[in-house]
Symmetry: C2
Subunit: 493 residues, 2 copies
């Protein structure tokens, strides 16, 4: 689908009128003044005003939007809270944004079955807040959990600092209700162990709004652990730190969190949050244990031994809940801290086999010279999920382009060592070219065939996540000799 | 695809000749003497001689079989060890069986990354045997693990007594290589945390050979726990036992195994294996803890408290590894024990929400009267995965039919309480009609569309797992007023 440069007034009016005939007053926005807040998501370098924004309040209205768009052949971009970091909710000039913001009801919490049924616009943290009265919580905790919605989490298969032990969204969602482009409701998954037939729940989670609109989500709740403590370990070089991560896992321990930050990151956050980080260390590791007090004490003891044997230069263990929160505060505020020391930053998201941690960190260090930009490394080390923060100044000519090239080079290195181009932020429009690097033609064909199986008219978030053969061919022709993966050319703000 | 009653000699010779031109000597069987061993799988009541059996020894030969079958329009039934219980490997009269038996090489074990790369014909237990030298093992442990292959486990998303804590096949496989019906190789999944694009690995696992032929599997290995102990708890009625299961889970404990057997089962196995079971109890629970010795001691203590509070009439804890194995021996030999006391038995497989355990057990008890047959209940209680063993004598007129109706009624009850018609044995041909009960038309359409996305000519294990609209319509017309789900009419031995 090739987008026009301009949408005729008549077309906008035609689609808006059809939508207004089916939706309540205030649920259809078409004035640019009103649609401006929807022009980008968390990847704010890319912006596009949509033709129309819709705000349905129930499943029937979601189906109405789908009906109108199908009948008038209008592309649809679904949107949760707009906190996504890969441009998955970037609007289309002649398309409709379907916001789930008003589908924000917690339908029920079943403390016996340990499940919650919620609408897609419910915030991630709101689920844990309501479950707290039963001593339960929803485990996946992306950095944006105050704001992001469960519908967006489903679209991006979001993770968080605890997903090493508790899993990604796909491991914590039992069932979704989906409105299809054909205007039907289907349920995928079940509250039981396994669902017969094809596992379409898993294929739906992480599908970035390309297969259908989620109208209800059943999530798994887990008991709040009785106790938790975190170790902060210092290392004199990143290679030793990277190998220590492997040693913890090799010892058969699955920490509740296993995060690594390099010196640049520690020095970036320390003046900001005073987390008590060792800013002389080349890298620090945060290793959390949770469970019963006895389990926590034993695991902290075992992790301490492993980290010492792996060459930690200093070790501190949180002694109170306040201290545990303080240790985590630095990690959790790494992104805002980057904003304090650099006019702009670009948060990458790639994964690698744990054994290649040290090698990739060394590679990124070398790229800092190549691209003339600093990079702060914070990551979910236990999962091998990297979040390098590339620091740049968009007002300096060429820096944005170098930051993008730097990011693409990191992703290409991730693929080279057997990893992937995204851990938990999705492909969206940001990494669509990198998909050509990650996958063979036959694999991309399989993705496209499954996409078409759900969306014959190809109206649901088109041109995201799955590159066309044409795009990969163009991309290969233009860029393969540069040895790095450039980003798609799209309207920039 | 409607199957003929007879395959012309010329057709068999045409297909066999085309296959022999591409495969080594001995890899194409067409004489009924040679193909007889392939006429059924573990659901031995249903048998069909295939036209031809192929035994490829490498990926290239798998592609050759697919090429020939695609060009000559021959349906293909993939087969692992043939231990499946739902007839997923039941041959087609004019089709080719593609056996993975000779693809039995363990390619490599990486003790650092904790993965093993194996060909699909490698036996489940063989992976753990080779991983044992590194203190690792492959977690999913179906009863048939001595014989069943990893390829078959992938096809059926197999579980086992430890899957409550360690997950099903889908949670323990990182990547598969797949030969498509188009004759291409694709890789689904990755060794990293998450794969970008659609999660086609999850949709492939449990797809019962309908999407492609797996040629290589990368599995996750886990460290052998240092210690393990099992509790055997007795209950005076099944309802109290069922509620005790819920109490264990509600206490925030995830046992390494949580199995329940009713009195019929305990009395059936005790004379056979002398496991020391309480044959006076209405139900016994086996609750296992594993981990470090300290963790095990603490969890056994907590589980004991919970089980006592839930009304256990007696509790025994294994004090040695030999005693632990003895306690498990009864559970693991339940199926052979059924064969000792009854000429025939029919093993069902359904799941229910844990909270409905007591209700469903009571329902099954009532059905014993309705259908005039005994039923021994053994199940993965922690997962809500039931394996009722319906005891019958096929030589008594009408008993087989009553056993099938009994089984179908159990599945219908599972669906009624919010469960599913299969936990880990797959749909195959056995439960294809029950799929019409479980799913709405739009949901079955979604399955079919994804099936077609992978297999345009519809040659891969056709007529299994996903019912056609025609089948559901016929089935509904014929049977909906009976209130039970009959089984498909297929050739019986």
């Amino acid at each position: 689908m090739s987008a026009p440069l301009h949408v005729p007034h008549e077309r906008r009016e035609q689609v808006a009128a059809a939508l207004r005939a089916r939706l309540p007053i205030g649920a259809v926005l078409s004035d640019p003044e009103d649609t401006r807040p929807y022009e980008c998501d968390g990847l704010a370098a890319y912006r596009q005003l949509p033709m129309i924004v819709t705000l349905p309040t129930n499943e029937e209205q979601v189906l109405a939007v789908l009906d109108v768009c199908r009948e008038l052949n209008v592309p649809i971009v679904p949107r949760g809270a707009g906190t996504g970091l890969s441009g998955g909710a970037l609007p289309i000039i002649d398309g409709v944004v379907l916001s789930t913001a008003r589908l924000n009801r917690i339908v029920r919490v079943d403390d016996y079955a340990r499940t919650a049924v919620v609408q897609p616009g419910v915030r991630n943290l709101a689920i844990s807040e309501v479950a707290a009265q039963y001593g339960l919580y929803y485990a996946p905790d992306p950095s944006s959990q105050i704001a992001c919605t469960i519908g967006g989490n489903v679209a991006e298969n979001s993770g968080g600092v605890h997903c090493l032990k508790y899993g990604l969204t796909v491991h914590n969602v039992l069932r979704v209700r989906v409105a299809t482009i054909e205007g039907e409701i289907i349920e995928l998954g079940s509250e039981a162990l396994d669902a017969p037939g094809l596992d379409l729940l898993a294929v739906f989670i992480g599908s970035e709004g390309m297969l259908g609109i989620v109208t209800e989500v059943t999530v798994k709740l887990v008991p709040k652990p009785a106790a938790a403590q975190v170790i902060m370990a210092s290392f004199n070089d990143v290679v030793t730190g990277g190998n220590a991560v492997a040693s913890v896992i090799a010892a058969g321990i699955i920490p509740a969190g296993l995060e690594m930050m390099d010196r640049t990151s520690a020095r970036m956050v320390e003046p900001f949050v005073h987390a008590g980080y060792d800013t002389d260390a080349a890298a620090i590791l945060l290793c959390e244990a949770d469970g019963t007090p006895l389990e926590v004490a034993e695991e902290i003891e075992r992790m301490t031994q492993v980290l010492e044997a792996a060459g930690a230069s200093a070790i501190a263990v949180s002694q109170t809940e306040a201290e545990r929160m303080k240790f985590w505060s630095g990690r959790k505020n790494a992104f805002p801290a980057a904003g304090r020391i650099s006019p702009d930053y670009y948060c990458m998201d790639g994964t690698i086999p744990r054994k290649n941690l040290a090698q990739v960190l060394t590679g990124i260090e070398q790229m800092e010279t190549t691209y003339g930009l600093r990079c702060a490394n914070v990551f979910h080390a236990g999962d091998g999920n990297l979040h390098p923060l590339i620091l740049f100044d968009a007002n300096q000519p060429g820096e944005f382009e170098r930051a993008e090239a730097f990011g693409a080079a990191i992703l290409a290195l991730c693929v080279e060592v057997g990893g992937t181009i995204t851990g938990e932020h999705g492909v969206g429009m940001e990494k669509i070219n990198s998909m050509c690097v990650q996958f063979e033609r036959a694999e991309l064909d399989a993705f496209s065939a499954v996409k078409r199986a759900f969306d014959v008219p190809m109206l649901l978030n088109p041109d995201k996540a799955i590159p066309t053969p044409h795009r990969c061919a163009e991309f290969g022709k233009l860029h393969v000799h540069h040895g790095a993966v450039p980003f798609p050319e799209l309207p920039r703000f």
